[in-house]
Symmetry: C2
Subunit: 201 residues, 2 copies
């Protein structure tokens, strides 16, 4: 029943994440589920609606299950509130949690890949991809840095450039994890420690 609808969603997501939306046929999805394609239309009104549902689910996941990774809510939406008390331990914890979220989470990881495959086709998906894992994290990291400088936790400097410097290794290590690397978490950890050692007060 509703469990089937869920299985369809995640199966479709994993196929979209590997091959891209257009390259996956409704038959492919049905076959992977062991049912006929006609059955899919009892749960989703068409293929596009299935795609949209994965996006919708991600937006919900961001403000709920993301919490279990210890991240601030709506991490990639540049939330303006509640960052004033962020210290270096928080930042490190948030950052490592985000890395695990985008590389290990059974929904977020394939969704990120799917978005990366759709980013050039649709302006909307391109924007979403940027906000989630590219420029978005840079901007809210810069916000955090500005607050930390104001609060005397961080040496003064160009917050935007420092945010790019801080977030860039995470972004690179995510891409390397997609390529099969599995030491990203430990490398990231030491890079964060190194950065904190240079800028913390």
């Amino acid at each position: 029943m509703n469990d089937t609808k869920e299985r369809i969603l995640t199966t479709a997501l994993h196929l979209f994440a590997r091959d891209g939306y257009e390259a996956v046929s409704v038959s492919d999805i049905a076959q992977a589920l062991g049912m006929t394609k006609g059955a899919l239309y009892k749960h989703y009104k068409n293929k596009r609606n299935l795609f949209d549902s994965t996006i919708q689910r991600m937006l919900e996941l961001d403000s709920t299950a993301a919490r279990q990774y210890g991240m601030p809510e709506q991490a990639f939406q540049a939330d303006e509130s509640g960052y004033d008390q962020v210290d270096w331990d928080d930042l490190k914890r948030f950052t490592l949690a985000q890395f695990r979220f985008w590389t290990e989470d059974s929904f977020a990881c394939p969704l990120r890949r799917m978005l990366s495959l759709e980013q050039y086709r649709s302006e909307e998906m391109g924007k979403l991809y940027q906000e989630m894992v590219v420029s978005g994290p840079v901007h809210y990291t810069a916000d955090i840095f500005r607050r930390m400088m104001k609060n005397g936790r961080m040496k003064p400097g160009d917050a935007d450039a420092l945010a790019a410097q801080f977030y860039a290794p995470m972004f690179l290590l995510i891409a390397m994890a997609d390529g099969g690397a599995n030491d990203g978490l430990s490398v990231l950890q030491s890079l964060i420690d190194d950065f904190a050692g240079r800028w913390r007060i």
Copy 2:
């Protein structure tokens, strides 16, 4: 004649780079060129061969036209020779040239995007993508750093971690350029200067 074959190649590449191989039909390519799809088969024996030709062209471009950007030949193939005399000015020049190459070059830029769209479907394309713009540049940057340390141009340290730190901003800025950012070159320049200031001798 042969100019037509070239127009087909670049037109197909641009469509593949936006939508992905499977999402682009032979009719789409023909229509973008103002000809019928039957004509394409006079120049390429099938759609797959057209895709393969773009890859082949890129491999040739790497060791020829890449030179005009002032980069070492076969930049992404971890060439082992001729790096011994690299100094910080060379490194900065190479790095900025590589950024322009992957974001501005009329062939390399769309090919990089196309590869990113195919990286999860085919192990071969995933490997190529990694070697070209992800782990590949990290590895050969680490090689350069090791040599610079040995030659007394760079303070001693973990070459691999430093290479990740050095290359990551470039990788991030390339992705941001795909999202419409156009200040990548100047940001990258100042990040390189900052890095060199910390590690040069």
